[in-house]
Amino acid sequence: MPAIEIQELKKSFEGRPVLHGVSLTVSHGDIYGFLGPNGSGKTTTLRILLGIIPPDAGRVAVLGLDPAASGPQLRRRVNALPESHGLYGWMSALSYLVFFGGLYGMEFSGGDYRARLRQVGLDPDDSRPIRTFSRGMKQRLGLARAMINDPEVLFLDEPTNGLDPRGRREIHDLLLQLNRVKNLTIMISTHILDDVERLCNRIAILDHGLVRYEGPVHPEAGGRPRYRFHLGNEGMIPSPWNFPGISLLDHQDSWITCAIEGRSPTEAINTLITNGLPIVEAAAVSGDLEALYLDHTTGGAL
């Protein structure tokens, strides 16, 4: 049974069709990217999956449950971070988390809540009201709230929007860790292709209410993310190439291109350096996803 299954999903608002028959499947443990221009129907799809709004037609199942029929039962097992933070400005981070923990019926001690704040990089002793927090801190707190019920499926709407590069990297690492350690299924709606390349193993591209592409992020590399590494000197490529999870795709001068699977780029770089490859620079190969996105979209609402 897949974690999420949508078949021929349709939805209109005041007679204006938004979803024309969306179909997709997300397996357990996937980090699934949901891409598309503004107004393409991403947020509407997420809200239907969460049971907040009902579909007009089609079949939707999350963890085998119909979100429209079994809302509260499903919402104990899933959670989401909407694009807006939805934080109470007058509360402290700790009291906000305790409030939502209570709503979900979680029986945590004060120490558990504090540990959860530390996990997202927030200081549990910070008693300032949330309205004084930076955007990044609010995003982290929103993520802590979205993880409060230890969900099996997590929906994220633009999770790194407005974060600086360091903040984005930290959120990426946290999501990858949760995915690996807890086998958390994550569905991310975003425009930021770098997020998708770093996090996702599969994507759907939505345009004008229809799925135009569903499949791996890098179809030409068997769905594995690709990275280019600059070596400090030439001619140091080991033969045979024997690094599990790191496939050598190309070697030109002092540059190599690799596909990575089952490990993070940082782990892959560390493995290569430990084995004598003098890597001085690394970059995700992003042109493919951008081309894929542009090929399957026609521009959204402004």
Binding site: I52, P72, S84, M91, G105
Partner: protein, 250 residues
């Protein structure tokens, strides 16, 4: 703790920790103080008898309660929608009527605060006269029903309309429409239309109950019809609120 109680606790905390509650309380105190000074000075000058001063003070408290109930009710869902805090609540495993019940409890808690705050003012205005205890008792009863009616109606509108400003405009218009027949002169109120308006109007029912108890010293049996009107309105509004919040959208 039950999720519903946690929501009620948050509503209660917001009244005392957030600036919203403090502003309401300060304004309420200023309004009550100003009217108390006016009424006491009129009583001292023998322009008003003591019972009339208590009745007028109770009427002002009922009007304030209805106004605050409309403002708080309008903010209930539409305000949260404006501040984008509604969606995380909708993601939690609690249904719409449960959320509405918690918000209505928050409004009733605020009414209780206002009522406790008003008792010293009623005492100051009417301690030397008769029926003060009955006035306080019936003020609590009628005030609670009025807060349920107007707060519940504003919450139901708030669940269906998108913006706080829109709901507040409609809620205040609704309050003025219910309140305006009370301003009819005594002769017009004695006409058939005036009597009908009085009978079908929960706001008039509340004020007429206070009039009957404080000024005419009439007992419970005289108040039953008017109390029944207010209770009927409260039941209808609560059913409407339940129906309006069965499916809430962000």
């Amino acid at each position: 703790m039950n999720p519903g109680l946690i929501l009620v606790k948050r509503e209660f905390q917001e009244d005392f920790k957030a600036s919203r509650g403090a502003v309401f309380l300060v304004i309420t105190t200023l309004v009550l103080s100003a009217f108390a000074v006016l009424l006491v000075s009129n009583t001292e000058l023998s322009l008003l008898d003591n019972a009339q001063a208590v009745y007028m003070m109770a009427g002002i408290i009922i009007a304030l309660a209805a106004l605050v109930a409309v403002i708080r009710g309008s903010d209930g869902f539409a305000g949260e929608r404006d501040r984008q805090t509604l969606e995380p609540l909708l993601l939690a495993p609690i249904n719409g009527p449960g959320l509405a019940a918690a918000k209505l409890c928050g409004i009733l808690f605020f009414w209780l605060t206002l009522f406790i705050l008003a008792i010293p003012y009623l005492w100051a205005v009417g301690s030397t006269g008769q029926n003060l205890f009955a006035a306080i008792l019936y003020l609590f009863l009628a005030g609670t029903l009025i807060v349920l009616v107007f707060g519940g109606a504003a919450l139901a509108l708030s669940a269906r309309m998108k913006t706080f400003k829109g709901v507040l405009s409609l809620g205040l218009t609704m309050l003025l429409l219910w309140g305006s027949p009370v301003l009819l002169g005594p002769s017009l109120r004695q006409s058939a239309v005036g009597r009908l308006l009085d009978l079908a109007n929960p706001f008039a029912a509340a004020l007429n109950t206070l009039d009957s108890v404080i000024i005419d010293s009439q007992g419970l049996s005289w108040q039953l019809l008017r109390l029944a009107v207010m209770v009927s309105y409260a039941v209808i509004i609560l059913w409407w609120l339940y129906a309006a919040t069965r499916r809430l959208e962000p």
